[in-house]
Amino acid sequence: MNERELDLQLIQRIQNGEQQAFALLVRKYQTRVANILTRYVRSSGDIPDVSQEVFIKVYKSLPNFRGDSAFYTWLFRITVNTAKNYLTSQSRRPPASDIDAEEADSYDGSGALKDDANPEAILHSQEIKQVILKVIGDLPDELKSAITLRELEGMSYDEIAQIENCPIGTVRSRIFRAREAIDKQLKPLLEN
């Protein structure tokens, strides 16, 4: 199963009336949506509101989603259109150059965002990043390698198993143990 198939499965559930499946899609994509919005929205304080608007539009439009394109590509278009409408409503002009779905994930929005975010939020976010990177750095090599190949290189379990010369079940377990170790440190930071 690839990402597209899982998304389609969730979308079918939503279309069949299982509203809670949409919560999982929001959890999955909200950081990526917010990252795209930093390209357009100058005040970081507005990003949660515009993100919410994006997902409400997505929910309303889901009955028309046929799955011809990947869900993320479709979500990306709605995000950009919502951001442009937001700028128009704020009497600002959208940026002259657009970004596409492929480069959006790695887009560094810090240049466009005239950051008036509160310093506490920035410090907190930096702390979260440092904790995640530190825990990964402290992991045993086999766990570090497994999580890095999966998250950074986007490899499947099968590909990692071939590189690491171990069964797929072992890869599955190593990646989970790496996440579990990070989560143990991450959870208290997010809950406070």
Binding site: M1, E3, E5, L6, Q9, L10, R13, E18, Q20, A21, F22, A23, L24, V26, R27, K28, Q30, T31, R32, A34, N35, T38, S44, I47, P48, S51, Q52, F55, I56, Y59, D105, S106, D108, S110, L113, D115, A117, A121, I122, H124, S125, I128, K129, I132, L133, I136, I147, T148, E151, L152, S156, R172, S173, I175, F176, I182, D183, L186, K187, L190
Partner: protein, 177 residues
């Protein structure tokens, strides 16, 4: 929960499409939050979280907004909709029709009576039921100024009848207790 945590990790990596696991995640709020944290780990490693408040989570507000919109847009099913009240106002066409029928009946009566009267004046063999002339020979006009056509014998007869009625009345008064 730990047994599902490994499945959750595989689900995020698109290595598991088990409906059972998805059902479990959808029903378990703690697993959903864990799903968010696992997702965040990947986003941070891929550097997809620039200049963001990483504590931001719009899931609850989005779901609440959707639930509110659903309530606002709720339309009662047709079977439960009340029947429209019957209006007491008679429709214009219905009333107009009643007047039209009444007017035509009246017209027919007037025209036919005129024709019958004309016929009786000229034709003595007309049926007696249609003859509206009194048996006395002439109809007396009904008016205060009209002078009655009475003879002395008529007046005498009328006075005798009145006297007889008065006597009868007095007798009845005497017999009552």
């Amino acid at each position: 929960m730990k047994e599902y945590s490994q499945d959750l990790s595989s689900l995020i990596d698109n290595e598991l499409g088990d409906k059972e696991v998805i059902n479990t995640v959808l029903e378990d709020a703690a697993l959903q939050k864990q799903f968010s944290r696992y997702q965040l780990i990947g986003d941070v490693l891929r550097d997809e979280s620039n200049v963001l408040d990483l504590r931001m989570d719009v899931t609850d507000s989005v779901m609440a907004a959707i639930a509110n919109e659903k309530q606002d847009n709720y339309v009662a099913p047709l079977s439960a909709a009340p029947e429209p009240e019957k209006s007491n106002v008679v429709p214009f066409m219905k009333r107009f029709g009643q007047y039209a029928i009444a007017a035509s009946v009246a017209g027919v009566v007037v025209v036919s009576s005129l024709m019958v009267n004309q016929g009786s004046a000229t034709d003595p063999s007309v049926a007696p039921v249609l003859n509206t002339v009194p048996f006395g020979g002439a109809a007396a006009p009904v008016s205060l100024q009209a002078t009655p056509l009475q003879t002395k014998s008529d007046i005498k007869e009328r006075n005798e009848r009145v006297e007889a009625l008065l006597k009868d009345h007095q007798l009845q008064l005497q017999t009552q207790p």
